[in-house]
């Protein structure tokens, strides 16, 4: 029995723009139905990686494959959907017309039902005839996500899909990503919004200066940050302590005559780990 290829596999990927080396030998995979967050500061090489994966940019060396097909090939482009970080749609097209055009380009046979379903998914179901030029930036971004989902792709490459969205729009996208996971669609989510990545992603890959600096589940990338105990004399911090130390610490404080009001086990967030690894401060 042959192994199922990863939705996206990248091996020793390098990209050089003149003297600037944007990617310095990146290896990563996105498994079937996996939701992977790609984090990194501006200029880390995230967008270059995503663009190579969808064939918009040629790698200097190394390889990227979508479901086993070389990135940029007809088979690879048939299997993926892509939302660019900076994109525009013709402002004279309506939402429905735009999706219809992409259906034709993608060879989708979903027809009006697929367009209706996608517009409903991104909360644009009530404005199918509204022209792109009359939509807010957030609506255009949600339309972009719907466009990327045309043709039922096996891999979605989303480059900053929530950058222009308000909190309600972000929630819509978060719910959408969870729906996609339920359908077995693999997603590579390039985002600066660490809290969202932490909430929805199965795995996180951090890139800095063109290299992968950390990878793992959000839980793996967060780590213990000590214990905080609020007493009658104020908040006491025990930076080296862990959850198992809490009974002993409380006992010692009570024995020392202090009144204990609250105990909190501190875990570093993904943001702390991110800032620590990429030096973002």
């Amino acid at each position: 029995m042959s192994a199922v290829p990863d939705a996206l596999s990248v091996h020793d990927l390098r990209k050089r723009y003149g003297a600037n080396e944007a990617l310095k030998g990146v290896d990563l995979t996105v498994g079937e139905g996996e939701l992977v967050g790609l984090l990194g500061p501006n200029g880390a090489g995230k967008s270059s990686l995503v663009k190579i994966a969808c064939g918009l940019v040629r790698p200097t060396s190394g390889a990227a494959a979508v479901l086993g097909a070389p990135a940029g090939s007809h088979a690879a482009n048939t299997a993926l959907g892509y939302l660019a970080e900076l994109f525009r749609f013709p402002d004279w097209l309506s939402a429905d017309e735009l999706l219809h055009m992409h259906q034709k380009l993608a060879g989708s046979r979903g027809g009006a039902a697929e367009r209706r379903e996608l517009l409903e998914l991104v909360a644009l179901g009530d404005v199918p005839d509204r022209r792109v030029g009359h939509m807010s930036k957030g609506m255009q971004q949600r339309l972009g996500i719907a466009q990327a989902m045309i043709g039922d792709p096996k891999l979605l490459l989303l480059d900053e899909p929530t950058s222009a969205l308000d909190p309600a729009g972000r929630r819509t996208v978060r719910e959408l990503l969870e729906t996609l996971r339920g359908r077995g669609v693999a997603v590579l989510l390039n985002s600066h919004l660490l809290s969202e990545v932490e909430l929805v992603c199965d795995r996180v890959i951090m890139i800095a200066r063109g290299e992968v600096v950390a990878a793992g589940t959000p839980a793996e990338l967060s780590h213990a940050g000590g214990v905080e105990i609020t007493t009658g004399r104020g908040v006491r911090q025990f930076a080296q302590a862990a959850r198992e130390d809490v009974p002993r610490l409380v006992r010692e404080l009570v024995e020392a005559g202090e009144d204990v009001y609250e105990v909190r086990v501190v875990r570093s967030s993904l943001e702390d780990t991110y800032l620590e690894l990429v030096g973002g401060r």
Binding site: C54, P90, L105
Partner: protein, 284 residues
């Protein structure tokens, strides 16, 4: 429906929605109206061009000269249309973020270029032929003269703008919209200047100027087709009439022979190959 047809249809719909064709149609009507007015005025004074005793037919001289002038304007309008339909097709649209969502679809960059070219060239060629034929009819309405050839010059005018559209589309792969527009109009001007040099060379009997004109016209074959088209409208006119026409502003029209056609095919193939090669190498 093939990918190229989808892209071509999209490009045409964009032109319709943006009212490009409405503007072009209005300007063309204005041009033809002015041309008609000019022909009408000339027709009333046509006897001043010559008389039958001198062997010069004033209608032939006036008709050929005016249609030649109209062909210059037609080529210019066709060139403007060709350039504006293609100048930002690749790099300009990529910089605005319009191209990427299309190119990641499984249709291939060659198909995309083909679709854009088919739309632009198709529209420009049809436009040029229609304006040329309208000019011929308007000329005949007021002056009793028909060109010696009709279809070949119409086709050659159409081929001339198709070449300009190919150059502009190819340029859009490498250059920004503004730079591409400037470059194509400079090439267009260079071609016309070469034609003028050829006329001056003929008047002064200068082989050097005529050689420069010939070589430039082969390098920029839209000019060769235009010159050939000019030549074709009076292909069967000889004697004093021919001499009188040659004194006019477009008397230097050159014939480039049958080899111009296969050369044009090779030229367009070379532009297509180079454009596709550059487009495939371009990071978007």
């Amino acid at each position: 429906m093939s990918g190229a047809a989808i892209v071509a249809g999209f490009a045409l719909r964009e032109s319709v929605r943006r009212r490009v064709f409405v503007v072009v149609a209005l300007l063309t009507v204005a041009f033809l109206a002015l041309y008609g007015l000019g022909v009408w005025r000339v027709s009333r004074e046509v006897t001043e061009f010559g008389d039958f005793e001198s062997g010069v037919d004033p209608d032939t001289v006036a008709g050929a000269t005016l249609l030649g002038l109209s062909m210059f304007a037609t080529l210019f309008l066709g060139a403007i249309l060709a350039v504006f339909l293609t100048l930002n097709a690749v790099r300009g649209d990529a910089e605005r973020g319009l191209l990427q969502p299309l190119v990641v679809r499984p249709l291939g960059r060659g198909t995309f270029l083909l679709g854009r070219y088919a739309a632009a060239a198709g529209v420009c060629m049809a436009y040029t032929v229609l304006v040329f034929l309208a000019s011929v009819v308007i000329t005949n309405l007021f002056i009793d003269w028909w060109p010696d050839r009709l279809l070949v010059p119409a086709l050659q005018m159409a081929i001339a703008v198709a070449i300009l559209a190919a150059l502009a589309l190819g340029g859009s792969v490498l250059l920004s919209s503004t730079a591409n527009g400037i470059a194509i109009f400079m090439l267009f001007g260079a071609g016309l200047t070469a034609g003028l040099l050829g006329q001056i060379g003929e008047a002064l009997n200068s082989d050097t100027l005529q050689d420069v004109s010939q070589i430039t016209s082969w390098i920029l074959p839209f000019e060769a087709h235009y010159q050939n088209a000019l030549s074709e409208i009076t292909a069967d006119t000889f004697g004093f009439n021919r001499y009188a026409i040659n004194l006019g502003p477009f008397g230097g029209a050159q014939e480039f022979g049958a080899s111009l056609w296969p050369y044009t095919s090779l030229y367009l193939t070379a532009i297509a190959s180079t454009s596709l090669w550059a487009f495939r190498r371009r990071d978007l």
